[in-house]
Subunit: 249 residues, 2 copies
């Protein structure tokens, strides 16, 4: 077995899908500009070390998606109407996070069985006696970019149920002037879209996502908000100022 074959065998996803995903990314990231000619089948064959039929299958897939056009004897060309994504700056700070989520109206999803309240890590405060569970899809310009699943302390929810059913929960929380927030902590990992997520975000299954786990703790040490927000991986971007809190030598 050669070295490249090993690379493929690390995943059980069919090879032509792996190749297609790579090509798709090159187009969407602008590495291959709209209108440009992409590598010939032979070059791709060479690069990815797969049979000709396999690259063809990959390119065919992209054609079905409207990302490329193939012309016999000429080559394969990137479609003109491919737009650059990556417009969502993910907040790494409370005020900008609030500002961001206030910009879009969530569409709420009915929930049949609320899942159990997730366990909290050390330092994430104590649980409230009861929670309300809310799910919503966040969109901008009719394009869904995140799926939010949120546990909000029942006591807080009861203060303004209609607000919680029409706005993003964090926006409502921040609007309560008397609530003092002692800690707001977020963990971010990279995941892949499962069926439900893929459905709501209108992305292919297993396409990369950013999962934000956010816990907000009030002055009494109670976790008043425990949320899991799944973002489309290809929409987001983080800007981090490494010197924000401390100067370096």
């Amino acid at each position: 077995m050669n070295a490249l074959a090993k690379t493929y065998e690390r995943s059980r996803i069919p090879r032509y899908l792996q190749v297609a995903a790579t090509l798709r990314r090159r187009i969407q990231s602008g590495h291959w500009q709209p209108g440009a000619k992409i590598s010939t089948l032979e070059e791709l064959e060479d690069e990815f070390q797969v049979a000709r039929v396999t690259v063809r299958q990959a390119v065919e897939l992209l054609q079905e998606e409207g990302l490329v056009q193939r012309r016999q004897g000429k080559g394969t060309f990137v479609a003109q109407n491919v737009k650059d994504t990556r417009w969502l700056r993910l907040a790494v700070e409370w005020s900008s996070l609030i500002a961001m989520i206030k910009e879009n109206a969530p569409r709420f999803i009915p929930v049949r069985e609320p899942p159990p309240v997730p366990r909290l890590q050390a330092g994430e405060g104590r649980l409230a006696p009861r929670y309300r569970y809310l799910r919503s899809v966040q969109s901008r310009n009719t394009e869904p970019y995140a799926l939010a699943s949120v546990h909000i302390a029942q006591q807080l929810y009861d203060r303004d149920p209609s607000a919680f059913q029409s706005q993003a929960a964090l926006a409502v929380v921040s609007s309560f002037a008397d609530i003092k927030i002692a800690r707001a902590h977020q963990t971010l990992i990279i995941g892949g879209a499962d069926m439900e997520t893929a459905e709501h975000l209108k992305v292919p299954l297993s396409s990369p996502t950013a999962e934000a786990h956010c816990v907000v703790i009030d002055e009494h040490g109670i976790a008043i908000y425990v949320g899991e927000i799944i973002y489309r991986g290809d929409f987001i971007k983080l800007d981090i100022d490494l010197l924000r809190s401390a100067p370096a030598t």
Copy 2:
């Protein structure tokens, strides 16, 4: 055709992988708590509308990952110690970034033709007259976790070439006491491993990655370090204190 079948057909990823992904999320999100019994094969069969053998294949995968335990006649149970494989905390702050990269010895990769120096965005300072290009694989416990491609200002490199060829570039930079760093900025996006990256990180092609673009600017406004570090997406985790700089209401 029902809704599930449609979702399946949209994606050509094997069904048992799709089912496995959904179950995996239920466990990791705490929907199915550690120790709890998950749905029976029959129920899963029903829910996902797939054959028994297919759900079994999915559950088998989760067992191999150590997420569940199966017992004949009893059922399938979520493991008690769902271990977190995201051991790499990506730094969002200069000092912790330096601390992290000092922990591991990079393996340097010979470079044939250095790529051109990347363009800088507005506010990312001015370019140095010349750069040195270095590539290295970062590992911990023999497990590669990142591929670094770095442009370092030639003037800086010449001060201690051997250091730059044995340690991570940022670690060397931070060890120069007389260098004042005016800005250190990092942009993070989610990408997918290309052939070369997949090879070096020993991951499947197109598996999710975190691409960090880091620019370090000295007191004269010169970009002394321009690096692109590609991390394995499944190893990393970002901890963000949303209130770090400013308290909230």
